[in-house]
Symmetry: C2
Subunit: 398 residues, 2 copies
């Protein structure tokens, strides 16, 4: 499914204008005045910015309501209210994981994402419905976006017997990542929960990406247990902690942990939430910690927000971290591109010769302007082929 293409007059990261030659899905030359080889189509970059594909490193493809009638949200305030409401109403609301993940994947591609890490619910009510649906989307839409699956015990692991066996089944079926969730607050057995998910990682030789919403000292306690296991099991570079609100508390409490994150190469995913304490992006990156971002749930029973745009997410990263200077906005973009690629361990990511030809062309004088403007006029290239242009995808949603 790879293609060749000459991008004429584009500006990598808003720098000097150049041409980029793509052959068989890879960038083979970056230079001014490249002649198009015979038969290779030319795309006029119009001196717009080019960046590598946006990285959606945390979302839930299986549960979006995208394209369904408006869901009137009257759900209670607690995390468990949202979890139970969703599980109990998923079938009634017709949230088919295949259809909905396909819809969101196309929307995501339109906005410029070329890679998605999706947590997918695994629970005793719906079994493998979510995993099978998202895997079908992954297979059918791999021409426009790469999807990896995290087997995610959204309703808890130990508190609902049978879930662990389903998690095992999901990993056996080909999920790339083991998921986890609030070992104290939801499962109420931090040792039991973490031993179980780390054991799955060991059994399948797969990384961990665990949701940790737990605030303050409780979250730091769970984090400490995660660090302990990462070290003991030799899983350096193979653990991501998503949300990690507890990293937003006092520096005196967080700084010692930050040093351990860097040492064990534990990655952090933040949506840069406005209403919660949040990981300090600049501080973590400067400490050498990989920090990625994601849109999390897009218009689901949890909340109505979201359009799957990782450029908008870069704006949220900027707003949450009080980034105002141009170099700070570049850091926000890095979180949504190169940092995300590091977390997802994407080989050949970038704009240099030899890189995968997964890029986005978009208007703007500078990177900062591109982020704050978030123009819908984007051209998205996947494996050397233009797969989306000005809000129109080459694929249609079911």
């Amino acid at each position: 499914m790879t293609a060749s293409l000459l991008l004429r007059n584009v500006r990598p990261y808003a720098g000097a204008t150049t041409d980029i030659l793509i052959e068989n899905g890879r960038i083979t030359r970056v230079a001014q005045g490249i002649e198009a080889p015979a038969g290779v189509p030319v795309e006029d970059g119009r001196s717009e910015i080019v960046i590598p594909g946006l990285i959606e490193a945390h979302t839930h493809l299986d549960k979006s309501l995208w394209g369904l009638p408006w869901y009137k949200n009257e759900v209670g305030p607690r995390l468990l209210d949202k979890i139970d409401n969703e599980r109990e109403n998923k079938k009634r609301l017709n949230i088919d994981p295949y259809r909905q993940s396909a819809r969101q994947s196309i929307q995501s591609s339109l906005m410029g994402s070329t890679h998605i890490r999706s947590h997918v619910d695994v629970d005793t009510e719906h079994g493998m419905w979510g995993v099978e649906g998202v895997m079908r989307t992954r297979d059918e839409y791999r021409d426009i976006v790469d999807i990896e699956l995290v087997a995610f015990p959204q309703s808890g692991l130990l508190r609902r017997p049978g879930t662990l066996e389903l998690m095992d089944q999901a990993m056996k079926a080909g999920c790339e990542i083991v998921g986890g969730l609030d070992p104290c607050a939801i499962d109420r057995d931090p040792k039991g929960h973490l031993d179980a998910v780390f054991a799955l990682c060991q059994k399948y030789g797969r990384p961990l990406d665990i949701h940790l919403h737990e605030p303050g000292e409780m979250g730091l306690f769970s984090f400490d247990l995660i660090v302990e296991r990462t070290r003991a099991l030799g899983m350096k570079g193979k653990v991501t902690v998503s949300h990690a609100f507890c990293l937003g508390v006092d520096a005196a409490l967080v700084d010692p942990l930050t040093a351990e994150l860097a040492e064990l190469d534990i990655a952090i995913m933040t949506t840069a939430p406005a209403s919660r304490p949040a990981p300090p992006v600049r501080k973590l990156i400067e400490a050498g910690v990989r920090v990625c971002s994601g849109n999390d749930g897009i218009r689901d029973t949890w909340g109505p927000y979201g359009n799957a745009d990782m450029l908008e997410r870069a704006m949220f990263v900027g707003l949450r971290n009080n980034f105002r200077r141009d170099d700070e906005l570049r850091m926000a973009l890095d979180v949504c591109t190169s940092e995300g690629a590091k977390v997802m361990e994407i080989e050949g990511y970038g704009l240099t010769e030899g890189s995968n030809a997964d890029v986005v062309i978009l208007p703007g004088e500078t990177v900062a302007e591109a982020i704050v403007t978030r123009s819908p006029r984007r051209r998205v290239v996947k494996c050397g082929k233009v797969v989306a242009r000005d809000g129109v995808s080459i694929r249609t949603a079911p």
Copy 2:
């Protein structure tokens, strides 16, 4: 400048479809199946949502960089860094208050705002340049938007001798509101600063709208002095405190103050910032406090963000306050519409018969969907005339 118009098939606040007859700039009938009087044009509402005009209750029209070449922000982190950088570079960067306020006003109108409260810098470096420029815009563009001016001592009042005299001159020239700024942190003389601005209010019989960025206990101290003067001078209902980050600290500290805000009808303006403590919107509104919002600076030397869209601001209010339910998103919209109108004391605001014909027609199944989607396909009616349609204004920017 008033006009007549029949809006056919619109849904007030996403409710049942109806017609709205506008005559001479006022809504005269709301009913199904209204016949258009002779000569009155008909606008097909296409069953879209209609809401009253968005209220931009806090911005800085005089200092936007909208339409100028990209400004590379390399400014230091402190508030004073931003204040000094702006004042010292305003002329060099060609930030002409007339031109820039006209540009932002048109953008604001395109997005559906029908009323703007603009703080306008008054300082010894630029004197009345800002006030005169924004007044010219106010006069020349009153067919599309109503603008009121706050005389604003952005660089401090007492710390820069001569500023108070200029503030007096600005009020004499017709500014509607007296401004103020961080009596402790910037002017370092809370009693002196507050006595001076309240004296101006008394002299001109005008309300106060004071910027209060001061955090935590310092902010609560300044707030206490503001409350004291509001009570002593009988200025109930005539004071707005903008930003008020200090209201985002512990409820135990803030609750007693909240009761006083309700008693003295002191209004709060919040941009719902993601990176700072912020006033708790629901709690304040439920206590009977008027709460409005604004976009603050739009793409200026302080920061690159902003597009003058108060519907986007409603989304930020929702995100900051963890509003997820549909009734909560309606509250976020109220902050950007009816609550703002109360703060700006706009007479005849609303969608009922007798109201001003200042409305926005926009797509969406529900109010919540309209907010999270923020479609640019909006029709904006000012005084009964369609002044903007799908991103195109009847006016052009200088």
